[in-house]
């Protein structure tokens, strides 16, 4: 499915289940999403991650609603499954779509300014450098006798300073590589939203509406 359409669908469904209270539909969404993810050859590490890490907020919400809430254990289960539904729905997008394809379709089909599409992409590709930079900032501060933690303003000040520098360099490099804002470009890989994309989008969305309408428990 077109990554842009997929993202839109996932976000719409996630928004809907925030305002509805159907335990069964949540479970169905989780099962279907998980089945889909399993067909996409995702690494064991990633699978473990999406199952394990949400456990903390999910259990936290469950316990506090169950013990201290007024809406009972049924609602506690809804909250619990909702967290997992969010994560698994999100994972059907993040684990299986390429960020490059997403920015291509955002530019070509959703007509976002190319500056935005490629800016996001470039920032995404800088992520490993940012992690490295934060490590350098922390070590360098230790050498000056200061331990910086994730809440230290200095850490943010220094990272923001580096980011500004990098974004400037990157903008210069893109310009030097012929990129001109809001000017027409050709496309090597043309991404279209096909009839199949539309059909899948509408059918899947409709199914969720039907389920939410009929299954209230």
């Amino acid at each position: 499915m077109n990554p842009g359409m997929k993202l839109l669908l996932v976000m719409l469904i996630a928004l809907e289940i925030s305002f509805t209270q159907s335990l069964t539909v949540n479970v169905i969404l989780i099962v279907v999403s998980f089945a889909y993810i399993l067909t996409q050859h995702v690494s064991m590490k990633a699978l473990f991650g999406i199952i394990f890490w949400p456990l903390f907020p999910a259990v936290g919400l469950f316990v506090s609603q169950w013990l201290y809430g007024s809406a009972g254990i049924h609602f506690a289960w809804i909250l619990f499954t909702r967290i997992y539904a969010y994560v698994f729905l999100g994972a059907t997008f993040t684990l299986t779509s390429s960020i490059t394809d997403l920015s291509l379709t955002l530019e070509q089909d959703f007509h976002l300014p190319s500056k935005f599409a490629y800016g996001v992409l470039a920032a995404f590709n800088l992520m490993p450098k940012i992690v490295e930079e934060i490590q350098i900032i922390k070590t360098s501060a230790l050498m000056r006798g200061e331990a910086l933690h994730f809440w230290s303003p200095k850490l943010y000040f220094k990272s923001i300073l580096s980011s500004i520098q990098w974004s400037q360099n990157l903008a210069e490099a893109m310009t030097s590589h012929g990129f001109v804002e809001d000017y027409e470009r050709t496309h090597y890989k043309v991404i279209r939203i096909t009839a199949l994309d539309w059909t899948l989008f509408i059918v899947l969305f409709a199914i969720v509406q039907v389920l939410l309408f009929f299954i209230r428990y």
């Binding site: 050498m143 490099a173 012929g178 990129f179 050709t186």
Partner: protein, 476 residues
């Protein structure tokens, strides 16, 4: 004919009276290979950014005078046509790509130039072949070495096929093999494909018989002059002399106390082996100079010594495995003077920076008078309220050295500490370092390409080559 002519070109920052470029009048000839030299921070980059059409757009400050490609003022070339005239290769290999893989970046470049998609594959294949990097086509750019990244940058330029190629110290962090190869490729582009090459570099290695013109940017007058053969030869000779040192140092005899020991040590980030050592010792209260070509892993070794990078094997400091020493005490014992001075700064003003070092230092070896004296000797006195990021590169380096001396760590690692310093400042700093060693028993390990002037400081010399580190008598 597309000579690049610079006419009455003057540039200065609004807050400063000093002109970075002062009434420049030169012509970079069509189909020629021009070298622009001058000390770091003298304004070479600024001129190149204007030639490449990136300034004034990205600087926000315009210059007086004009730059012409043939008869056309660069400002009259429509934005989308500029890249047909000129393309630029940058100093930092890490910040010139927007996309994830080589093929995506090259496609991005061609899309920007509105090339018909059917033609892209051929253009890309040809450009990669020209640069000898066909095998890198699908690689993720982040996993490439500095030398490989610069080859990809050149491949992008070859694919763009501009008339003028501008390069800003493009070889500063890449290995000698890649450097020579890239220089030869540029020569080929000039001779066989009629390109105009304008390259700025303060390192003059391997340009002697290659360049057609040698321009020099004088840091005092801020003017650029075309040198004749005799003058150019003088600069080449002068540069070579800074790369040598007339001193035969001793090989450690084993009588010294070792302070850092590396055993079964292996360094291979991104699966490319940089260094493999059975056993190696650094000695206490000695200054060890590490020499070796660019981009072969010297700084990476410092990163391992400061726990910034994972390594295999063990590093022992003062009898203890460094993995078992807590981060803060270790960092205060084995401290790195970063190559980029800004990495060291945590505060905004000069005074705040100095105060931080005075507050957190390991011991009180330096008195306030010592500090004031050091500042005065390096011409840094009276700049208390200056914002550190607004200092010149040389001033940043001086402040960085002083604040790290005040910290007075038992082991000070220094990565190119003399870069951007004039010769007098270098001599002063060498004096400071000698004092720290003799009076405060500091161990110093220095990576430096600048060798002249260090005679009195160096005790031992370790050569980094062939993925190995060995003590040697001769420094070259």
């Amino acid at each position: 004919m597309t000579d690049v002519s610079i006419n009455h070109f003057t540039f200065h920052y609004p807050e400063s009276d000093v002109k970075v470029l002062n009434d420049i009048n030169i012509t970079f000839k069509d189909h020629h290979f021009s070298l622009l030299s001058g000390p770091s921070g003298s304004g070479k980059s600024t001129l190149l950014y204007f030639i490449a059409g990136l300034y004034p757009h990205f600087s926000g400050i315009d210059a007086v005078g004009d730059i012409k490609f043939g008869d056309t003022n660069i400002k009259d070339i429509p934005k989308e046509k500029v890249s047909q005239s000129v393309a630029m290769m940058f100093q930092n290999p890490n910040q010139q790509f927007a996309m994830d893989t080589v093929i995506h970046e090259m496609t991005f470049v061609l899309e920007n130039l509105r090339i018909v998609p059917d033609k892209m594959d051929d253009i890309i294949t040809h450009a990669l072949e020209f640069c000898g990097i066909k095998q890198l086509r699908s690689r993720v750019i982040n996993t490439l070495s500095g030398g490989e990244k610069q080859r990809v940058a050149l491949a992008c330029i070859v694919a763009m096929d501009p008339q003028v190629i501008v390069l800003d110290e493009p070889f500063a962090s890449i290995d000698p093999g890649s450097r020579l190869d890239l220089i030869n490729k540029l020569k080929l582009l000039q001779e066989k494909h009629g390109k105009t090459i304008i390259l700025a570099d303060h390192d003059l290695t391997s340009y002697r018989d290659l360049v057609d013109e040698f321009y020099y940017l004088d840091p005092d007058t801020h003017q650029i002059s075309l040198l004749d053969d005799e003058q150019a030869e003088h600069f080449f000779k002068n540069f070579e002399s800074t790369q040598t040192i007339n001193k035969k140092v001793e090989i450690p005899t084993g009588d010294d106390h070792s302070i850092i020991q590396l055993s079964d040590f292996k360094l291979d980030p991104h699966d490319s082996l940089l260094l493999k050592l059975g056993h190696f010792d650094f000695y206490k209260q000695k200054t060890t100079l590490i020499t070796g070509a660019n981009g072969i892993g010297k700084s990476t070794m410092f990163n391992a010594l400061t726990k910034l990078l994972p390594y295999e094997g063990t590093i022992v400091f003062d009898g203890k495995d460094i993995k078992k020493i807590r981060p803060l005490p270790y960092a205060k014992n084995v401290t790195l003077l970063f190559q980029d001075a800004e990495n060291q700064f945590l505060n905004i003003t000069v005074k705040e920076e100095l105060d931080l070092s005075l507050a957190n230092r390991t011991n009180k070896a330096y008195t306030q008078t010592d500090v004031d004296d050091m500042l005065a000797q390096l011409d840094m006195a009276g700049r208390d309220e200056r914002i550190v990021y607004s200092l010149s590169e040389g001033q940043k380096k001086k402040l960085q050295i002083i604040e790290m001396l005040i910290m007075n760590p038992p082991v000070l690692l220094m990565d190119e500490p003399f870069k951007g310093l004039d010769y007098h400042s270098l001599e002063v700093v060498v004096g400071f370092l000698n004092r720290a060693k003799k009076d405060f028993h500091q161990t110093q390990i220095i990576i430096s390409h600048q060798l002249s002037g260090l005679d009195t400081l160096i005790d031992y010399h370790a050569a980094f080559e062939n993925q190995n580190l060995t003590y040697q008598e001769v420094i070259k």
